[in-house]
């Protein structure tokens, strides 16, 4: 009983600033890439293009975040019980809303883009519509009554959710990169791919198990993983990541130009 009386208060006092810090970090992650791109190379096609593309970039950032976070319980900031479902779903519907604003905004402000609703539109636009349809399905199929109808078994929901989210992520990436709005300077590519490689490798390393957990190696000094990894490994890891970024961004840059 004493445990139960004591615990919640201390948690409350500790987590509120942490939560705010986390939300601030999320906002920086969502807005900084686009703002810095805008700084390097504005679009020069009227401010509504920049605005709608900004909305699109935030949606893309959310897409990557949702993919990594995977609606799982988390220790920092604490998400337990049904809270992490709620958080995942909230952000998913925000993503759906933002990507709809991005797409329908252009359809309204630039009526010529209705041309792009046909199957002869460029590949990066076909990818975009496909990804949007996937978003709609991913969101709708997760609402409980519909989920039970569409996916009787839990496994079929998990499988389709994972598959469609991977496809949607790849389609979005192609859409952002191949539209070629901002990525005709190497600096922009390098910045963008740095972010992407870091995020994806963070995800991959974390999934490989606690031994290789990236965040634990780097930040959690009293975990086993931290002490197991020698001091020489960390610079190697870092250099490897940087090399990976250079290769990735260079390759994409050459492929696209």
């Amino acid at each position: 009983m004493t445990y139960k009386n004591k615990k919640p208060e201390s948690v409350k006092h500790k987590t509120l600033p942490l939560l705010l810090f986390f939300l601030g970090g999320l906002c920086v992650y969502l807005f900084m890439p686009y703002l810095s791109l805008l700084f390097f190379r504005p679009m020069l096609a009227g401010s509504y293009w920049d605005l709608l593309n900004g909305v699109g970039f935030v949606a893309f950032g959310l897409c990557i975040y949702l993919f990594i976070e995977r609606a799982r319980p988390r220790s920092w900031p604490k998400l337990k019980g049904d809270l992490f479902y709620w958080w995942h779903r909230l952000l998913a519907f925000a993503l759906l809303l933002l990507s709809s604003i991005h797409g329908f905004g252009f359809l309204i402000l630039e009526p010529v883009t209705w041309e792009y609703l046909s199957l002869r539109s460029p590949w990066y636009m076909l990818c975009a519509w496909l990804a949007w349809l996937f978003f709609v399905y991913l969101c709708l199929a997760s609402i409980r009554p519909l989920k039970q109808r569409l996916h009787g078994g839990f496994l079929s929901f998990r499988f389709s959710h994972a598959l469609l989210s991977i496809l949607a992520l790849v389609a979005c990436l192609y859409h952002v990169v191949a539209a070629g709005f901002y990525f005709d300077r190497y600096a922009a590519w390098a910045l963008f791919s740095l972010l992407f490689v870091l995020v994806v490798s963070y995800y991959a390393l974390n999934r490989l198990g606690p031994k290789l957990s990236f965040s634990k190696i780097l930040f959690d000094s009293d975990s086993k993983a931290h002490s197991q990894v020698g001091t020489s490994v960390k610079p190697t890891l870092f250099i490897g990541l940087v090399l990976l970024c250079v290769l990735f961004s260079g390759g994409l840059y050459v492929a696209a130009n």
Binding site: L44, E110, P111, V112, R120
Partner: protein, 119 residues
């Protein structure tokens, strides 16, 4: 085991058939797409050398047609109408704008795709 493999192979086949049907429908539709109206006035472009755009005047592709007609009929380029023309017009406008000079529309579809009022 064999059951799963034959299922996967069947799905793959169906997917390949759908994809190839989609690709050929896309090609057909691209070839038959009507040209959009484009506003283009030579007097806006009198500081630009003719051969920058009329590449056919210098590289021997032929002078018998105008740009749009030839690019629409020539089998080697008629899938690339959008890519090539947008590449030409937009890139020049964009690069000039980045140098701080006056130029035409970059991405605003409506500024180019509107009725041609002057020949």
């Amino acid at each position: 085991m064999w059951r799963q493999i034959s299922w996967a192979a069947g799905l793959l086949l169906i997917f390949a058939a759908l994809a190839s049907a989609f690709l050929s429908a896309r090609k057909e539709s691209l070839r038959e797409a009507p040209l959009l109206e484009v506003y283009f006035a030579h007097k806006d472009h009198n500081k630009v050398g003719c051969a920058n755009c009329h590449h056919n005047y210098v590289d021997g592709t032929g002078r018998q047609y105008g740009c749009y007609q030839c690019h629409k009929e020539d089998e080697t380029v008629n899938l690339l109408v959008e890519e090539q023309f947008h590449g030409l017009c937009r890139d020049c406008h964009r690069d000039l704008k980045h140098m701080g000079k006056e130029s035409g529309p970059v991405r605003q579809c409506g500024a180019c795709h509107k009725p041609d009022t002057q020949p």
